[in-house]
């Protein structure tokens, strides 16, 4: 049990896909202009990651080494298309807002990286906490970045006015350069969290 918890928490801070591994940044920066988008993208990504990791881990002995990458892409693409249809059918606004970035989950490095580096070599039981941990690690960063960007750049959160009416939105934060600044802030926050965690661990020893 302890092992699974360790795999799970790895994705949250220590090996956070966005802030520590620094992969899959393109779509992460592009969709985080509003909290709803960030949350939607995070959950969509978590779903695809979990399903692909489980399937690939379950079939890992049946996937020949030399064609593993095409097989991975087929599996990831299938689940991405599923989420694309579901969003279009039941959350049309979200699907519209995220546009091309949902289909682009197929080539997201986080999924490719986890599948190739982790689930292809591990049993299903190891893979589930990893996918959920990585997914939540991805989602909390997206929600955090998009909350800050929406609040400063639009004065709202979830489209609800938070800032007083007199507040003039700082557009910069909604535009791409602002995304980089907020992202950098989150990287430093994550490094701070990491050093804290290390201190706690050392004290225990």
């Amino acid at each position: 049990m302890k092992r699974y918890i360790k795999i799970f928490t790895n994705g949250l801070v220590l090996e956070n896909p966005l802030l520590m591994l620094m992969i899959g940044l393109c779509s992460a920066l592009a969709v985080t202009t509003a909290v709803a988008n960030g949350l939607g993208m995070g959950l969509a990504m978590t779903f695809v990651l979990l399903m692909s990791e489980v399937v690939i881990s379950a079939f890992r002995k049946l996937i020949p080494d030399s064609i593993r990458i095409p097989v991975f892409i087929i599996i990831i693409a299938a689940f991405t298309t599923v989420i694309d249809y579901v969003l279009k059918a039941y959350f049309p606004d979200l699907s519209k807002a995220m546009g091309v970035f949902i289909p682009l989950i197929v080539v997201n490095c986080i999924i490719m990286g986890r599948v190739e580096g982790f689930s292809y070599k591990r049993p299903v039981m190891d893979v589930i906490p990893d996918a959920i941990g990585m997914g939540i690690g991805y989602t909390w960063v997206l929600v955090g970045i998009s909350a800050l960007r929406e609040l400063l750049g639009n004065g709202t959160i979830f489209n609800i006015q938070i800032m007083p009416q007199s507040y003039k939105p700082i557009l910069f934060f909604v535009l791409s350069p602002g995304g980089f600044f907020v992202f950098a802030l989150f990287i430093s926050l994550n490094i701070f969290l990491k050093s804290r965690l290390k201190n706690v661990e050392e004290e225990r020893k």
Partner: protein
Amino acid sequence: MKNMLKLGIILAIYASVACVGLAFVYAGTKKVIAERQKTDLEAALNDLFPQGKGFDEVTGSLKSTEPSVTFNNVYEVKDGNGPLGVAIRAVGASYGGPVTVLVGVGANGKIAGVKVLESKDTPGLGANAANPTYFVDRTKRLTFTDQFKGKAVTDPFEVKGDVIAITASTITSKAITGIVKVCGQTGSQWLATQTGGTK
């Protein structure tokens, strides 16, 4: 050679299984997506023509006179005893890429309403064209698209003239205004031939 075949077959099996799975999902969601798009469209048309009772898609007879603007769909709106107006879904180029606008033209020669359906313009600047809480005229609480409502199609449609522009988004303002102008003119001309024919 033998190995190649084996790998090819394995790959084909994975691909076919994924395809079959996707086919089921597609079949399951297709109806909902189509229905959703239909209700979305009906809601939008109802917004433009609240008295409208039925909508018919018109194909072929209405073409854009402007090369930069294309008409995707045209809907004739009826209220029981004749055409009430025409709604045109038109696409034109704007700052961040194509912008899709639904323009309602009334049989009285006036714009019934304008709705921005899709736009890729800068959030907070050009995207304010579709923002219901962004007012170009704060005292009248008029959004950018609201100002076209009730405007005669023969008006000059000049940004910063008779059309108030979105702050710092002249290109978006001009693009949408241009689309509305073309739709208004061709739409009202077409409506004139329609009512003339039935009389």
